[in-house]
Symmetry: C2
Subunit: 348 residues, 2 copies
């Protein structure tokens, strides 16, 4: 560029027209997620959601998260329609642990140079996640930041808000010795541990996204990019069946080791029986190829359990039955004992 030429915003790397084209492209997708409470059109300053009068003492539950370096796998595989599901899942599963109904979602998408078609794939995933979790995609920011991200790369963050009646909050405070710990199956790796995963498969083993993984019977990309499971329908099926749940944990970074204690009262530990749920092959592969110590595996990955429910022991069979009926494989994986707050692993 001539140093004295006229400088406009487009020349400086930001193309507002491409941004507008992108907004037009995603409009129909986004509108599909709208619930009757959504009061605004796309493009307003703030997004309006009418909470209305049906709650007696509403408590808003919010959560934010990103997809982490799982995005790098999407870049490598040039596949962009699943990470949006991960993004929604990471946020709404967190919100769900309080017993809240997810209401709405907003996303932040940042890239060096906006490629509307590719970005629309990402938004497609986000809208799919929103529909699965019953929340409306009410807003989002598409940030074009020249010189910020490597070519073809982007970052994503999301934000979910839900609501729960104050007297129906699930917070783990009623958990007692003898309660049952029920694990719901994950959908593979979900969205955590990808720095380690990438180091193993792409750096150490020099594998490609299209490499076949014989243990899983899929390509590496298919296995690694399988989207994080959304557990909203799991909890709401239990609620509809009027089963009281005492505590819930979303198994993200930190694994069961790091996440289950977050809902335990002081003086109680969860004794979890390793091997009490079906082993998913991907974790065995990672452990073997990376020579990763078992304790690191347990405190990094979900190991096959994406969401945990703690309830009175007498309800365990009914819970597992209702979950299965609703398409969620669930297992009795442990129980609550007296002890220092934390997780203690026992052999099955």
């Amino acid at each position: 560029m001539n140093k004295n030429s006229k400088l406009t915003y487009k020349k400086a790397g930001v193309d507002i027209k491409e941004g507008d084209r992108f907004v037009d492209m995603i409009g129909p997708l986004v509108r599909k997620t709208f619930r009757p409470e959504v009061m605004t059109e796309i493009g307003s300053f703030g997004a309006l959601f009418r909470l209305g009068k049906k709650y007696k003492d509403p408590v808003l539950v919010s959560g934010t998260d990103g997809v982490g370096t799982k995005l790098k796998v999407a870049f490598l595989a040039d596949r962009h329609d699943t990470v949006g599901i991960d993004l929604v899942a990471m946020c709404v599963n967190d919100v769900l642990t309080s017993g809240a109904e997810p209401l709405f979602f907003l996303d932040y998408f940042a890239t060096g140079k906006l490629r509307p078609e590719k970005a629309a794939e990402v938004i497609k995933g986000i809208t799919a996640g929103c529909i699965e979790s019953g929340c409306a995609l009410v807003g989002g920011e598409t940030a074009e930041m020249p010189g910020f991200y490597d070519k073809g790369e982007y970052d994503l963050s999301g934000f979910a808000v839900g609501v729960v009646e104050k007297k129906e909050i699930v917070d783990g405070s009623s958990i007692r010795k003898g309660d049952s710990v029920i694990g719901i199956a994950s959908n593979g790796l979900h969205s955590n541990g990808f720095s380690l995963v990438r180091e193993i498969f792409f750096n150490r083993k020099r594998m490609k996204p299209k490499s076949k993984l014989k243990e899983t019977g899929t390509t590496l990309a298919d296995e690694l990019l399988r989207p994080t499971r959304i557990y909203v329908k799991a909890y709401h099926s239990l609620r509809k069946s009027k089963i009281t749940i005492k505590g819930m944990a979303h198994i993200t970074g930190g694994g069961i080791t790091g996440n289950l204690p977050r809902v335990l009262p002081k003086g109680l530990q969860a004794v979890v029986a390793e091997g009490s749920w079906p082993e998913q092959p991907i974790f065995k592969v990672i452990k073997g190829l990376g020579n990763v110590p078992q304790s690191d595996m347990m405190s990094t990955f979900n190991m096959g359990i994406g969401y945990i429910i703690v309830a009175e022991e007498s309800k365990k069979e009914r819970i597992i039955q209702v979950l299965k009926k609703n398409g969620f494989d669930a297992y009795l994986i442990g129980m609550i004992e007296k002890g220092v707050k934390g997780v203690c692993y026992a052999k099955h």
Copy 2:
């Protein structure tokens, strides 16, 4: 790293202990923003905020934004305590345009390698912005993403949620011909147009953050990093004075040209008198150094007006008076006329 050595999460670039140290460091800052409605401690899965019973027909208003490439200026100047204010301002000013009271905020902070001290500076800015706008910082995600951001760099996004009674929503629908357009002074560039700003000062003119800018009497860094003004107290001072406001616009990317029409009903245009508010020197400098066309200036920068209020003509003096009394310089900058929805500039 030995290709066959044991691989742990820390070796793969993610240090959970540094993350925990960071959380401990920011805890006291974050707690200072808490309002009585905040029901959760830092570190829970979802953040609980008790909306309670005081609203008859509550409408939740949410917004998300980032700081854009203004962050690059913060990196260059190695000054990280102001961009958090920008982040909050960008979100809460959007939420405010509906007449909502901001309630809570969540942030997403992503970096290649977490430097707790530097990240804590960013959070310090976020908490300052939250206190200024009266909202609680209820949650956040700190994402350490090795191989994602350049060394020492990070990205930021934020999410704000506010509430407004349905019958008190401000949405521009009652704006009529003859109404007054009142501009509230900006605090300089705010957070938009920085790709252009950086191109001019750092690439073309090879200036440094410490370079003195004679037109502003400050260093370049001081001028460019001055935080975005938060207008929450401006609107709430008008509300307390029981002055009816018909529409509000936050002047962000797109300038007055792009943002003011967002609140105008069909068939109405805003005639804005250029020169009816004090010129801020930074915009003159940018226009001159970059040889930027005036229409590009008006559709890229706030040009000295950060927030706009539209109200009945009879209320204009009172509005300006109340705003001034509350520390906000405000000017009558135009009026509403019949015409194609948009902004038409007239000479003062």
